[in-house]
Subunit: 303 residues, 4 copies
């Protein structure tokens, strides 16, 4: 059975779930997204694209951007990064300050909010224009220039008091080098990047190819780093449901409250599924189920 | 034995402790205070002043200002205040974010940092110029106009990331009405008020007289509110050592990292002891011991 | 107005509250107590007894026994006791394991469950028959021999898994000297002592007389220790409502889930109020209100 | 390069690390193990055994037994199991009571102590003689009857107060069906099974073959369950270092304080490495490094 047939079947099968759950509503720009959309795209090692449903519709990538930030930060700082951010699952809801305080301002991992804010701080050390760097990274992988939804970015800033609290706490422990406002500006803007399933599958193709861009073979990060990013996504990529996601889906993945989830089948393909309505854990209901069906059908779980 | 002899004896007895501990050093303006100072003053119900040592030397009142803020807030908001801040000892170090997060942005009590920041927010609702109100309150009790050490206020702001974190967290829970910066401006400035042992004993005389100013008899707060402020000081006034302080000293009290401690003997007198060097808990070593000796000698513990 | 009139008035006034709340129902022997009972007794410094309502009805003293255990332990171990148990309010619900783990098996104070279990362990060091000692202590103060409700003791044991958990945890940190079962046997039995308002007011008379038994003048504990026990009751005696209780009532007190509350007016009298139905905090609704009215009417708050 | 050469090389390479760290010393029977031992064995999908060093020396399997208990429990209870134990990484040290209390007696996952105790309780429901069942399971996979080190079991019981605390806490929340003593008896004994690297690699061969025993093809658990057990090992199998282990080694694995680590290369082989001296996290230093070198050399990381 072809990949195209498989994802078309999955799209049909998850249709009853599409719209189930709740669209992120903490900012207006996200709350008004039509929940009844679903898209899925696959980008294979040899450069093939498969897509179904709303795979070319733009959405807010939100926390998926954390993997991008992490990729640039690892590439620049190497092992030094791990003196300022941990490698362990958080075991707590994704925005908890408790752990951050107990662990003296060192975030558990780079894929929770606090960790991604810390990573943004390291990007300000590494690059003059970290946001340009992130956008240009996506453009290199997809061939098209992504945009930032400035309404979303503004709203994030206007309501992001908890992120401010975490940044201030890290600053109080001396783990943030730049002013809180400057770091959060990078963070809120990277979360506000808009993209599509097809573009995101392309963007993360290097994680399915030992760090190389499919087709061009350009080495984006070393093979070892690509594997490590995948390991982090597996253990920390889906908020406080990483265990269940590994158990049910069995792929490294990163979700965002915009409803997108990027998943990696090492050595084979990058996948992006998207549907805006979220379950309690903050992961898209229909996109999670689509990925679960995918590994069930194809046997491509890494386990 | 007269009160004057008692406090003179105490001053002699604590002399070996003066300078023991560590002056607060998180901001330069506090770090450079000479630790080898000690003062003590008593203001009795009938308006007598007793003083010993450096009782007329100015120091930064710091957290003692929390009782002033609380007094004005209770006076204006009454019972409504307790929907936004609790009445219970914190059981944790005085600046913990953990509890604030678990308890959804409602600080444990108005005498820890988070609670005093919340109180500052309520003062912004109550008064056009809350800081003027605080200064004028002191002036009414002492007859002289207090000052604010603007160096201290600036330094507090420049390093107060943890207070920023708490304010942002309360804001994220919707428990702060005004912008974080505006609230912190009041808070940092009230902490930077400078005063002396004599003035502070006078300022808090109303808490030793059922809410009335000694001598003039002016009703500052109702009798019931005065008792409640005393109760809060007993259970929450000395950071995470309130239990030990009640156990060893046995008086309602509020300490500050400037080294001052105000204590109340209900229906009799207000006391202020001061010495800059602090113990591990953030309370002045010599001032605590002076108050312990005072209740031991006079039998004036409330227990 | 005489004390007798005051407590009769209070009994009339709290009548509508009697039965409001919920009788402790975790064990059958407590669950079947008639909630519509209320009693109050006062024992003054000069040996007068005042009583109203069901002041001579027997009830399970439960956590009030913690003050008895503490009294014997302080008397035997002195300051050494405070190396194994703290002096600070817990800031958390009364049976929390969290704090006990963070603080490495040292309970916050002797009036929470963990602390009272630790105290029971120290009594096993101090006395061959600690339970006999506790009973005989009560007999010395009241002139009559108290009993233990063995049904209650058995039920406590059969359902006390959380207390077992705390004892095991303290044992794991090396802070318990005797086998868990033996310590819990003392603890569960002391909680199962039955007594009346009149007897309990008599039992705790020494805390209102600088450590001396009223009338006889027998020194039960030193004056300093009596004050310290009062201080502990004020800051830690009413579960996680100690702040509110100090604020509303203003007396050192210890409550039990049997519905009794003992309160002390230093240098004047011991009071016991009782009504079985409890509020959310585990303190009797009607007994708390009776004590609140008492200090409001008499002005006898310590603040 | 052959697997045999690879593991021989690894044994040579980790030799300087063997003995580094600290042998588990909380019970005498473990403390007296010679730290300077190292063994490694591989059992492939087609039934080949490769071994090096002390691969046939017996050691205490300790927490590795949790995977055995889990396998039997999943096999008997299916999805029902997940109503009583979670699937998420704990994010806290492996024996924390804090999380267990916050989450109302439901352990985070079956591979931490609390979870394995809960699993033991479910085995008592499922089987008349759960321990016999566990031993017979191993015998079926290895052809030889394992033994239990009764000295170790006795010592575990005599010092296992923290495990008692966790069991009592789960009992207090109603999540344990059998008496604490009975459950802990199973748990302590299963931890005290002794085995060798070769036998453990054989025992867990089914996890490398979609749930089937290599060679015989006997279906031990369904393919889906085998994958899920692997997913749990990846996210939760190495105490609070699961993230780092995934990051550095990249294989599902379960470690024990006896110094053994079992790892699975899905669809290819089960591996057991063993060396008694542990790092801070409770995982064997040399065995962890051996597995890290293995995936580095072979490229067999699942990521």
């Amino acid at each position: 059975m072809s990949l195209q047939s498989i994802i078309d079947d999955i799209a049909a099968e998850v249709a009853p779930l599409v719209g189930q759950g709740k669209v992120a509503d903490y900012i207006p720009a996200l709350a008004c997204v039509d929940p009844c959309q679903f898209g899925m795209a696959i980008y294979t090692k040899d450069g093939q694209i498969y897509q179904t449903g709303d795979a070319q519709t733009s959405f807010s990538i939100q926390s998926i951007s954390k993997v991008l930030g992490l990729t640039l930060a690892i590439d620049h700082h190497g092992r030094q990064l791990w003196t300022r951010v941990g490698l362990e699952p958080s075991g707590d809801p994704f925005n908890s300050l408790v752990q951050l305080e107990f662990e003296r301002g060192v975030p558990r991992n780079p894929l929770i909010n606090a960790g991604a804010i810390l990573v943004a701080d390291t990007l300000l050390e590494a690059y003059d224009e970290p946001l340009e760097q992130l956008l240009s990274f996506i453009e290199q992988q997809t061939g098209s220039e992504p945009t930032i939804d400035s309404d979303v970015a503004e709203s994030e800033k206007a309501t992001g008091f908890r992120n401010e609290a975490m940044a201030s706490l890290m600053k109080s422990f001396g783990n943030l080098q730049h002013p809180v406002d400057q770091v959060l500006d990078v963070y809120f803007k990277q979360c506000s990047i808009v993209s599509t399933c097809v573009q995101l599958a392309q963007t993360f193709g290097f994680l399915a190819c030992d760090g190389c861009q499919p087709v061009s073979g350009h080495q984006v990060v070393t093979s070892r780093r690509a594997r490590r990013i995948n390991a982090l996504m597996l253990t920390c990529g889906t908020y406080d449901r990483a265990g269940e996601f590994a158990f049910e889906v069995g792929l490294p993945a990163k979700s965002g409250v915009g409803g997108g989830i990027v998943a990696i089948v090492p050595n084979q393909m990058a996948i992006c599924a998207w549907s805006p309505a979220l379950g309690e854990s903050g992961n898209s209901v229909a996109a999670t189920e689509a990925l679960r069906l995918f590994t069930q059908r194809t046997g491509l779980s890494i386990f």
